[in-house]
């Protein structure tokens, strides 16, 4: 039939073909005339900016979303649209970006849901389910207790369980991984690559969506690039490098330049700190953290997921509680019991999950942007509509938010622009301290550079900034100082000019907990 030679893309036959796929949503065109073909035994990467249509495309393939037009051809059969059930029957499995699980069900139940193993009468065979689940986890090499509740597992492991489900249980021929590594720790990501390599040899086709060029170039055989809802190219990996790939993605300037870490000299900060933290502790999250933040300074908090960096920001912002320790804003001791108090005290928080915690989806861009600063826009008891519009238009301009009008509903914007709306909202609140929790998470390169520039030039020009980031590059490119957390404690501090990638990397992994002792 076909043979797989080394790292060359297998000349397997085509098992999936997309022809002229178009998808329209109210207010936007998600896909237009997208074309793609996928072969057996290949890892086919799909890359593009936020809003390029990657998720929409795979949702069409997996049956989650029916297309407005076009044909899906699987193993010779042509369909104008699929349902999830039909796609499953044709052997298509999908693992979505955020793990789709039932938190209160056990791992075993989540694995088999909704296709429970049943007796002829209809009764569920729990014993068999638990046993099979255990066997599956072993086969995949995962040390997971299948009787634990899904919600007891950290996000990373939940995602791995779902990946195992797609590969081992559903006996799929085409497995779609939608930005799965976004929820994985670096160790778990490496583990995933191993599973992918093994499955590939078994003849499965894997659709791997990501917006990380490095990852795509590392594991894919062929890459399809999406831009503005269209497939602009499908290339063999061996013909691609970062430069060429980014040209396809952005269609213009070369953004693969990346960050020249730590080049510029740190701006000298004088004066009293705007924020001081002493001995801050929250059991189970972070311990005895102390540091200062000066106005105009950008302080990065680096660390793995679970190192306490997000918890720290949330605690200072009043979203979560603090067990011990003191916080001083401009010399005055404060104890914020809610974000409302924090805002009033000049400390604003940019949430990690912008959709759930940052935006009012059914409201307009204008309403979202002005929400935290309405008090400044009033005349007497009423909102001054003209002032509001002026402020909002100013923000849209300054942050280059792409939207047909300020009245457009925020849910119709692309991911990068939604993040900009949340950033704009807190910027308008004119605080003393910005707490930015992964401000560039899940955003494509173009928007990311834009946001980092905004942080460096705008936010820091007025206030002190603390930010965390999923990757080191972002911190290295804008921060004046980086604190490294590990296991909830500060293990190291780096100053600009002395940002060594290796040192930082090691520091982050300082107290390395070996996987599954």
């Amino acid at each position: 039939m076909k043979s797989a030679e080394g790292e060359q893309a297998a000349e397997g036959r085509v098992i999936l073909r997309l022809d002229g796929i178009t998808k329209l949503y109210p207010g936007s065109i998600a896909l237009y005339d997208a074309r793609m073909d996928v072969r057996e035994g290949e890892v086919h990467g799909i890359i593009g900016k936020n809003g390029a249509g990657k998720s929409t495309l795979v949702n069409v393939v997996s049956g989650i979303t029916p297309p407005t037009g076009g044909i899906i051809e699987i193993g010779g059969d042509r369909y104008s649209s699929l349902t999830r059930q039909r796609a499953k029957r044709k052997g298509i499995a999908i693992v979505t970006q955020e793990p789709e699980v039932v938190p209160d069900f056990t791992v075993a139940e989540n694995l088999f849901f909704p296709d429970y193993l049943r007796r002829p009468g209809g009764r569920i065979m729990w014993g068999d389910i638990n046993r099979e689940a255990g066997r599956m986890m072993e086969q995949a090499g995962l040390r997971v207790n299948v009787l634990a509740k899904m919600s007891d597992l950290p996000l990373s492991e939940q995602q791995l369980v779902l990946v195992a489900k797609a590969f081992y249980l559903e006996k799929a021929k085409i497995i779609i991984l939608d930005e799965v590594t976004a929820s994985l720790s670096s160790k778990d990501a490496a583990f995933l690559y191993e599973i992918i390599a093994a499955q590939k040899r078994g003849g499965k086709a894997i659709l791997f969506i990501s917006h990380h060029m490095g990852e795509i170039l590392e594991i894919c055989d062929r890459v399809t690039v999406l831009r503005d809802g269209q497939t602009v190219a499908t290339e063999e990996r061996k013909t691609l490098d970062r430069h060429r790939l980014s040209l396809f993605i952005v269609g213009g300037e070369d953004l693969a330049g990346g960050s020249e870490g730590g080049a510029a000299v740190s701006r000298v900060k004088t004066g009293d700190p705007v924020l001081t933290v002493k001995g801050l502790t929250r059991a189970g999250a972070f311990y005895d953290l102390s540091f200062d933040l000066r106005g105009g300074e950008i302080l990065g908090i680096a660390g793995l997921r679970g190192s306490g960096r997000t918890e720290l920001l949330k605690a200072i912002a009043g979203v979560d509680r603090v067990d011990e320790g003191r916080i001083f804003v401009k010399g005055e001791e404060r104890a914020f019991r809610s974000p409302a108090e924090a805002f009033a005290g000049g400390v604003v928080y940019l949430p990690e999950n912008r959709d759930r915690e940052g935006l009012i989806e059914n409201q307009s861009v204008r309403e979202n942007l002005s929400l935290s600063s309405l008090k400044h826009l009033t005349r007497g008891a009423f909102i001054n509509k003209r002032e509001e519009l002026k402020a909002v238009e100013g923000l849209i301009d300054m942050l280059s938010i792409v939207t047909p009008s300020p009245e457009q509903e925020v849910r119709n914007l692309s991911g990068g622009n939604r993040q900009k709306v949340v950033v704009g909202k807190i910027f308008a609140a004119r605080p003393l301290v910005y707490l930015l929790d992964e401000p560039t998470r899940g955003i494509d390169i173009g928007a990311k550079k834009s946001i980092l520039a905004i942080i460096k030039e705008r936010l820091a020009s007025r206030a002190g900034v603390i930010m965390t980031a999923p990757g080191l590059e972002d911190l290295v490119s804008v921060c004046d100082r980086i604190l490294v957390l590990c296991g909830g404690r500060v293990v190291n501090e780096f100053y600009r000019g002395a940002f060594g990638e290796r040192e930082l990397y090691l520091a982050i992994h300082g107290m390395d907990r070996a996987r599954a002792v």
């Binding site: 178009t22 329209l24 949503y25 109210p26 207010g27 936007s28 065109i29 237009y32 503005d228 269609g251 979203v319 809610s338 974000p339 409302a340 924090a342 805002f343 009033a344 604003v348 928080y349 949430p351 759930r356 915690e357 940052g358 935006l359 009012i360 989806e361 059914n362 409201q363 309403e367 002005s370 929400l371 935290s372 309405l374 008090k375 009033t378 008891a381 009423f382 909102i383 509509k385 909202k425 807190i426 609140a429």
Partner: protein, 336 residues
């Protein structure tokens, strides 16, 4: 398309106008000054409840207790006036007591829902039953012959024979409409309903918003009770019964969503007026009172259907717009 969107968002008024015209031609005795005024007058009580429910819905909650507060608050005031206090109660104080009792019930609801985290449906359901039970217990069928001051709001007529109640109701609605649209408080309320978590993180005191709205809803229910007491010149223990479901119908017909965060006060007024108009016209036609009751059930069904219909229509409009854009893309040369 912009015009079509505007019409869609204000659909209730279109329906009102259409229904009005239908009645003008087909219902006997409909188009007379007295009857029109009557429609407004008879809508006032329910419209206070519609407004109360609508406001609570905006925050993403439900208040089932308002129909019992409607009876309970005036009942307490009148019991104090007639039986419990030896010297009776100054009628102005009676009004104050009514509003305070309503507000306190609302406050209790708001605090339970926010600070204790009790689901609003369950909590207000229990209050609904408790207050009705208490009212039935304390009020022996009815207390009548109320003071003129107390019944003023519900009974009196102003210029051109227009009831004070109508003027008052319109005033309340217009004020609320402006507050919701043009003040930070109004926007915070809508944001809280639209996404409570995001609102909280954005620095809004979401608990306070919900408590204030529940308090106000309780007070509005008390006002509704006063209007009813005024109209019948009595406080009876079954006042308001079965009205809470209609309060939903009115709010939803007026464009308030069940999921929270969307709706206008004037829309709620439209919904209440439509309910009043339907009741009026069916009575004029001479329909059996029990069938009229069943009609209300149909209305609630219709209200929810309308909500879904609007969503679909909105999508259709956007879809057509997209198709138009697509066609332009196909004919124009490909850019970037």
């Amino acid at each position: 398309m912009r015009l079509q969107l505007v019409v869609l968002d204000n659909l209730i008024w279109l329906i009102l106008i259409l229904f009005f015209l239908v009645n003008v031609f087909f219902t006997p005795n409909f188009l007379s000054y007295g009857n029109i005024v009557n429609i407004f007058y008879h809508s006032t009580i329910l419209s206070m409840l519609v407004l109360a429910q609508g406001l609570v819905l905006l925050t993403g909650n439900i208040d089932l207790s308002i129909e019992s507060t409607l009876a309970f608050a005036p009942a307490i005031a009148m019991l104090l006036s007639t039986k419990w206090l030896p010297g009776g109660l100054n009628p102005y104080l009676a009004i104050l007591v009514t509003l305070t009792v309503g507000g306190l019930v609302g406050l209790f609801n708001g605090v339970s829902v926010t600070k204790l985290g009790i689901n609003s449906f369950i909590h207000t359901l229990s209050i609904l039953i408790i207050l009705r039970g208490l009212t039935l217990f304390f009020v022996p069928f009815a207390i009548y012959k109320l003071s003129g001051t107390y019944t003023f709001l519900g009974r009196a007529r102003a210029f051109a024979d227009i009831p004070v109640a109508v003027i008052f109701t319109l005033f309340v609605f217009f004020t609320l409409h402006i507050v919701l649209k043009n003040t930070p408080f109004g926007r915070y309320v809508l944001a809280t309903g639209g996404n409570p978590r995001a609102s909280y993180i954005s620095g809004i005191d979401t608990d306070k918003m919900v408590i204030v709205i529940f308090l106000f809803a309780g007070a509005l229910a008390a006002v509704a009770g006063m209007l009813a007491a005024g109209r019948q010149d009595a406080v009876n223990n079954t006042m308001g019964k079965d009205m809470v479901l209609l309060s939903f119908a009115g709010a939803i017909l007026g464009g308030t969503t069940l999921s929270g965060g969307r709706g206008t006060a004037l829309g709620m007024l439209g919904g209440a007026l439509l309910l009043g108009m339907i009741s009026n016209s069916l009575t004029l036609i001479g329909i059996n009172v029990f069938l009229l009751y069943a009609t209300y059930g149909i209305l609630i069904f219709f209200a929810v259907l309308l909500d879904r219909f609007k969503v679909k229509l909105r999508e259709l409009l956007f879809h057509r717009e997209n198709m138009r854009t697509l066609r332009e893309l196909e004919t124009a040369p490909r850019g970037k």
